[in-house]
Structure formats: structure tokens, C-alpha cells
Amino acid sequence: MHELAVTEEIINTVIEVSKGRKVKTIEIVIGDLSSFIDESIRFYFELLTKSTSLEGASLLFKRVPVKLRCYNCQKEFNPDETFLCPYCNSLGGDIIEGKEFYIESIEVEDEDRDSEKYLRC
């Protein structure tokens, strides 16, 4: 449910950055510890961008698995549900990846190519 407000936020940022150019792709990074669901964002995005300059832009989600730095041996690992370090078998670690939630980049249609197209018309 909370993806609605979050998707509006994404759209506002993309509109601001793209400055009217046609947006082809939006890359979004989501850590597995953040509580956001790709499909939900996609659903709201399609709904909210219908008949706008962002209609048809594709969303590319990069999922970041949880990574811990072992409290004991300091090695980094992706935990399973036991949270045991595969190197030293001790429990847990500091979270170094998995909380991400940001727009990494957008791809917009090339201005040059756009103007060429315009000239050809």
C-alpha cells in the first residue's frame, strides 16, 4: 500500500531531472531489508503515468541482498535464515548492504537524435 506515495516521489524526481525529454528507463535500487515491493511500484507507476510524458518508461529494479560484516571475523557474507557466518560459524554481523532505496539513474532519449528526427520531418 505505501508504494503509492513512494511512486509519486519517484515520478516527481524523474520529471524534475528529465526536463521534458522522453524517459526510456528508470533504474531503482531496492535493498532486501527495505520494505518496498517492485511489482507494487510498477503497478502504481503505470497507473500514475498514463497519458503523461513518462508513459511507457520502463522500470528497472536492482535488488540488493542483505550483506553482513561478521561481528567476529569481519568477513562479509550474505546471510541465510540462521544468520551464521559461513567462515567462522559465529552469529550475525553489522549490516553493510540491504537497506538501499534510491533512484540510481534514468535514461532519456538523446537530444541530438531527437532534433535529427525533427529535421527529417
Partner: protein, 214 residues
């Protein structure tokens, strides 16, 4: 053409949260965001805690609907404002910003924010609080930290409520604690029962010690 952005999607919320925190600091109001699943005991814990604090408290109640919890607070003479999120699964910083306009915080030293009962969404939204508390309760089972690591990794304290029910259900306390320590070793863990009052003093003493404005 690719344009690098790297912009935190929750920026707008987080900016309002910063303003909220500045506001609380300016009034010396220590603010506590309480999160749990529905029925874990948020309201009971707030009532038990407030009755043991020497300094005045206030409460912001977040619910999808109804004013049951805020009426309970008002019965005990606690200043309270109700936020109905109308279906939304969590509170966010702008909702708190609106709510504090309706609450007189002069002289208040503890503000409890009772988040919407949910172990997933509230964890992502900074409200401008000073500390975050997660409540789990014995009947929910010992696996909660493993299933909802996002929330348990972000709190300063975890309260295990309803420990009086421990003899009647299969609850592996060691497993529960390990699930928290694995991802958040600095968090405090308090075991208590709002029904028998066991363990509440220890929690309240800790909360007082955390409040720089008490």
C-alpha cells in the same frame, strides 16, 4: 543518454522528519516511535509506562481507523491526538507534523508515537523520533526477528511483552534473542508483562536514562 541521479526516494519524508526532530528538541520533548504487529501491546505498554514517569507525557495514536486507543489514553488524562491513516499502513513524517499542531507540548518531556500495527512498513519511515522501539509478544512466536529483520535491525530497544504466557506456548527465548542480536547487537532487549507488571520498572528506568530532557 543516461543521467546518474542517486537520490534517496524517501528524501521528502526524511526532510520533514528532520524538521520534526528540531521541533521536539526545541521544546525538550523526548520522542519515542513504538512499532509492533497489531495486538502486541503498544497501547498497554504506553499506559503502564506513562503512569511510572514523573514528567508529563503525551501520545500520538496512529491507526488505520477508529479512536479506540486514543479514548483509552484520554480516560487516563493523557494528552493525545489521533491520526487515522485511512488505510495507509504506517505513519510518516508529514502526518506527525500535522498532528503536533493539535497537541500542546509545553512542559511535556515524553512523546510516545504509537505507529500503525505492522512489522513491515513503519520501519522505513523516519518520523523525527529520538528512539525507536519494537514490541513483540510471546504468542506471536519466537521467529519474528527472522521474518522482519528490516524492523528489528533499526530499533534501539526490543520489548518482549506477555512473558506471563511463556509457560503455555512454545517460545524459544534464546532463538528470539539470537535473531535480534544477529542483525542489531547494540539493541536492548526487555522482557516484561503489562498484565502482571513484571519487568516494567527495568524498561521504564532505561527509558528515563535515555531521555536527555527528563
Amino acid at each position: 543518454m543516461k543521467i546518474e541521479i542517486v537520490k534517496n526516494i524517501l528524501d521528502a519524508n526524511d526532510q520533514v522528519a528532520v524538521l520534526n526532530r528540531e521541533f521536539f528538541d526545541s521544546l525538550k520533548v523526548f520522542t519515542i516511535n513504538i512499532m509492533s504487529s497489531p495486538g502486541a501491546g503498544k497501547t498497554s505498554l504506553i499506559l503502564e509506562t506513562v503512569s511510572r514517569l514523573e514528567s508529563p507525557s503525551a501520545v500520538i495514536e496512529g491507526d488505520v481507523a477508529s479512536s479506540i486507543d486514543s479514548e483509552k489514553m484520554a480516560e487516563f488524562g493523557i494528552p493525545v491526538v489521533q491520526i487515522n491513516t485511512g488505510g495507509n499502513c504506517h505513519l510518516d513524517a508529514p502526518m506527525i507534523r500535522e498532528a503536533i499542531k493539535k497537541l500542546s507540548l509545553n512542559g511535556v518531556r515524553y512523546l510516545f508515537i504509537e505507529n500503525v500495527g505492522n512489522l513491515i512498513c513503519p520501519a522505513s519511515f523516519d518520523l523525527g523520533e529520538h528512539i525507536r522501539i519494537a514490541i513483540a509478544s510471546v504468542p506471536e512466536g519466537d521467529d519474528k526477528p527472522y521474518k522482519y529483520p528490516g524492523l528489528f535491525s533499526k530499533v534501539e530497544a526490543v520489548i518482549l511483552n506477555k512473558i506471563d504466557l511463556m509457560p503455555y506456548v512454545n517460545f524459544d527465548l534464546e532463538r528470539f534473542k539470537k535473531g535480534i542480536i544477529a542483525i542489531n547487537r547494540n539493541t536492548k532487549i526487555f522482557l516484561l508483562s503489562c498484565k502482571t507488571k513484571e519487568g516494567i520498572e527495568v524498561w521504564v528506568d532505561w527509558l528515563k536514562s535515555e531521555n536527555p530532557y527528563r
